[in-house]
């Protein structure tokens, strides 16, 4: 591609910085001197993809190796896509601007179900056949990883090979195997068969599915020596696990425009709706020294003036106080602000607030998730109303005037009383603010309540539950709307039609591949974006393929049904999920991993919280 011509075209689209490349810390290598070229694709916009920590880790890890050149690829926004199609510009990697069609690997990270059409669109823009079976040569091998791969079936026909679990080790093992095959001129078929023997690798073409008359799966049969169960990979020792010293620093503003320091993986809580809380088990912490050292290096190499401590539940980090003390020693003189996302209401102390207050004061966000204690017990969100009030009181007395609360609608066993409870909770927080003698003087309070629609996910105790249908979702949204009478409480909720699609793909099987392809052919892409999502096209796509999406999303599943993801093993056993489901229906809570082990199965990895002294 002529560079001048290309740059001219960039000046005709929104935010050319999405496509220009050349950012600080981006890696340029001599393509003649590497053995493997890896196109790391994030199937959404630059601003979203560049905010993703997993991509930063793997990008740096791969590029540490002299024989691999990993480059970044994002989904072009619709304006640039039409320019690319009109001018026949194939999908390219940002660093070299080379077409990714000739790369050795095209790797996708699948973070949410609504990006699946973008995966197809990107393969198409690259000029590749969509289906794995139609790509016969050894390269490019299309691989995928990320949390959605715990149920890879809805994209099984398009992807050659999935990485299950954490990628730091298994990705490189597969790349090394590929190098051997490339050298000796091996076939794709033989490569995939061999790769399937590596722990954490799932090659979907090696598994046959059969279905019964009622449409449920009757058997999943591996072929050619592929394992019956694919076991998730994890990094056992987080202190020894690779972490980048450099991040690519974007020119344009991205969603999370700051340094991100991971402090632990997994979550001790076991909230029953939360997929991340199960698939990333067991909890494995980094030591405060490691975190401090890595965070400092990151700030120095990027010039960022903000760093966030990232995890699923940051206030559960056992060494949070000593860590913050250590970090404040250098962040304050360096004018670096610390942010702590994912705090819980039940262990949010005044001391912690004071530490965050050292630098910057913005709004506080908490997630009670449900409006009544009964429903919070059902979902195992072990948070009481008293704790919520205590936290808000601490925050208000510390000078905060805005609180944001996250809830879910459509949780199992939910009644209208639970919905009214959400509005009541908002009202009570407003009342609390005005009852405080030492609230911020002369300022009004604002309580924002954001309500998303619950989608049952695989590997959670709610994987057996039906998702409520569109009409019922809309009815409940109305109940919620009319139960809020307070002007200081600002209520917002999500569109129900995308949740419906997400629900079908979350627990769907490979019969959805045809639907996905039809939807893509009709022009569906960026389904997570309101301006692009087109429900009518999706409905047509389902109809044309003779598939009822509600079969996957709105059906109660028996415990003995074979689910599309049952051959994936993420450590947590189905027996545990069944036990948790039964406890949920009885509104009985389960203690967190540090209080008491509930024998979920994740101890099989021999590391982490399962072996901490209690």
């Amino acid at each position: 591609m002529d560079q001048k011509e290309f740059e001219k075209l960039l000046l005709t689209v929104q935010k050319p910085g999405r496509y220009s490349g050349g950012e600080i810390n981006s890696v340029i290598k001599d393509k003649e001197k590497v053995d493997v070229r890896f196109a790391f694709c994030f199937p959404d916009t630059y601003e979203i993809g560049m905010s993703h920590l997993g991509m930063k880790i793997l990008y740096s890890l791969f590029n540490e190796r002299e024989d691999i050149w990993c480059e970044r690829v994002f989904a072009p926004w619709v304006d640039f896509e039409s320019v690319m199609r009109e001018k026949s510009i194939p999908l390219f990697a940002l660093e070299s601007r080379d077409s990714i069609k000739d790369f050795d690997f095209i790797g996708f990270t699948l973070q949410y179900e609504l990006c699946y059409t973008n995966l197809l669109n990107m393969l198409d823009l690259a000029g590749l056949p969509l289906r794995s079976a139609d790509r016969q040569s050894l390269s490019p091998i299309v691989v995928a990883g990320g949390p959605c791969c715990c149920n890879p079936e809805p994209v099984a026909d398009f992807v050659d090979l999935f990485f299950i679990g954490e990628g730091e080790e298994v990705d490189l093992e597969v790349i090394d195997l590929y190098k051997e095959f490339k050298k000796k001129g091996g076939s794709k078929r033989d490569f995939l068969r061999e790769a399937a023997k590596i722990e954490g690798v799932y090659v979907p073409s090696l598994y046959d599915f059969s279905y019964g008359e009622d449409g449920t799966i009757t058997s999943v049969t591996p072929r050619d020596g592929a394992p019956a169960k694919i076991r998730k990979r994890i990094m056992r020792d987080m202190d020894k696990s690779y972490y980048p010293e450099k991040f690519v620093v974007p020119f344009i503003e991205i969603v999370h425009d700051r340094a991100v320091q991971e402090i632990f993986r997994g979550c001790i809580r076991g909230c029953r709706f939360c997929q991340a809380g199960f698939i990333y088990r067991p909890v494995r912490e980094k030591s405060a020294d490691t975190v401090n050292r890595q965070a400092k290096a990151l700030c120095e190499s990027t010039g960022y003036d903000e760093i966030s401590l990232s995890s699923l539940s940051t206030s559960d980090y056992t060494q949070l106080e000593p860590l913050l003390n250590k970090m404040l020693e250098w962040t304050e003189p360096e004018h670096i602000s610390l942010s702590l996302p994912s705090l819980r209401v039940d262990n949010f102390s005044k001391e912690l607030l004071d530490k965050i207050n050292h630098i910057r004061k913005s709004g506080l966000t908490f997630a009670p998730e449900a409006g009544t204690q009964r429903l919070r017990d059902v979902i195992n969100k072990n948070v009481t109303e008293g704790e919520i009030f205590r936290t808000c009181k601490t925050a208000f007395e510390g000078g905060y005037t805005a609180v944001k609360l996250y809830f879910m609608l459509g949780l199992p066993t939910e009644t209208d009383e639970d919905l009214k409870g959400i509005a009541e909770l908002g009202q009570k927080i407003v009342d609390l603010y005005y009852s405080l003698e030492n609230r911020p003087k002369g300022k009004s309070v604002s309580v924002s309540i954001s309500v998303s629609t619950f989608v049952p996910k695989p590997f959670t105790p709610f994987q057996f539950e039906p998702q409520i249908e569109k009409e019922e979702t809309e009815r409940r949204q109305k109940v919620l709307k009319y139960s809020n009478t307070c002007k200081k409480v600002n209520l917002s909720w999500h569109d129900s039609s995308t949740s419906f699609l997400e629900g079908a793909f979350a627990r769907g099987d490979r019969r959805l591949c045809g639907v996905l392809e039809s939807a893509f052919r009709k022009g569906c892409k960026f389904d997570g974006w309101n301006e692009c999502f087109d429900l009518d096209k999706w409905s047509e796509a389902f109809k044309e393929n003779g598939i009822d999406p509600l079969f996957f999303s709105a059906r109660k599943r028996e415990y003995d049904e074979i689910n599309a993801w049952d051959h994936i093993d993420c450590g947590v056993t189905k027996e545990f999920l069944i036990r948790e489901h039964e406890k949920a229906l009885a509104a009985v809570t389960t203690p967190n991993c540090r209080e008491k082990c509930s024998a979920c199965g994740a101890a099989c990895y021999g590391e982490g919280v399962c072996f901490e002294k209690r």
Binding site: E7, F251, E253, T302, G303, Y304, D305
Partner: protein, 214 residues
């Protein structure tokens, strides 16, 4: 603490950066370089940077100027430029650092190079003709966002037409700044030409006496 004026170029991929992007980048480059710079002391503390004349997205600049404050009296201008270059991405290069001679409000003119890479010589002829008119009035938003009539001809100090490019010296700075894109859109509109791609490069910033601004 002392004021330091930095002279730098912005070329290549850096032309895709807006002024906002540029400010973010410079902040990070300075932080990464480890230079001891002065931070403002307000509610939202940030590195003090003053850009002489911001450059539009899409343009390249060979004589860009920004002022910062250095809190260390020992470090030499050469080392300031060197340290910044070690942290800067391709396309940004610090040419030198120096003590400011004049305040930036004294910038009065800027020289631009315009090239139409896909056009023949005819377009330069048409442009020459267009600019030789007594007056060309076009609409421009003023600081309050109202549309205002604006004659571009008095804002053109000098034109020089070469075989495949044109050099223009235009009013620049706080008062009566004329952006080449405004001139170009007036040109396309008034002559009924289809707008075509034009490469714009800012070559120099001048004071009122048309001496390079320092």
């Amino acid at each position: 603490m002392r004021n330091v004026r930095l002279f730098y170029i912005k070329t290549g991929r850096m032309k895709f950066l807006s002024q906002l992007d540029m400010n973010r980048l410079m902040t990070r480059v300075i932080r990464k370089s480890g230079l001891p710079v002065w931070y403002t002391e307000g509610f939202n503390q940030h590195i003090y940077i003053n850009y002489a004349v911001p450059l539009s997205l899409g343009f390249e600049g060979l004589y860009e100027i920004m002022d910062i404050r250095i809190t260390d009296d020992e470090i030499t201008p050469e080392n300031i430029a060197k340290q910044l270059n070690s942290a800067a991405p391709d396309g940004i290069e610090f040419l030198r650092a120096a003590k400011p001679v004049k305040p930036t409000v004294e910038i009065a003119f800027a020289e631009y190079e315009l090239i139409f890479p896909d056009e023949d010589n005819g377009i330069y002829k048409d442009l020459r003709e267009f600019l030789s008119q007594e007056s060309v009035v076009c609409l421009k938003k003023d600081k309050k966002g109202r549309m205002k009539e604006f004659d571009i001809i008095p804002k053109i100090k000098k034109t020089e037409f070469l075989s495949n490019k044109v050099l223009l010296v235009l009013s620049a700075g706080n008062e009566g700044n004329l952006n080449p894109s405004l001139l170009l859109s007036a040109f396309f509109e008034n002559t009924g030409r289809e707008p075509v791609f034009c490469e714009v490069k800012r070559l120099m910033l001048f004071d009122r006496e048309l001496k390079p601004f320092v």
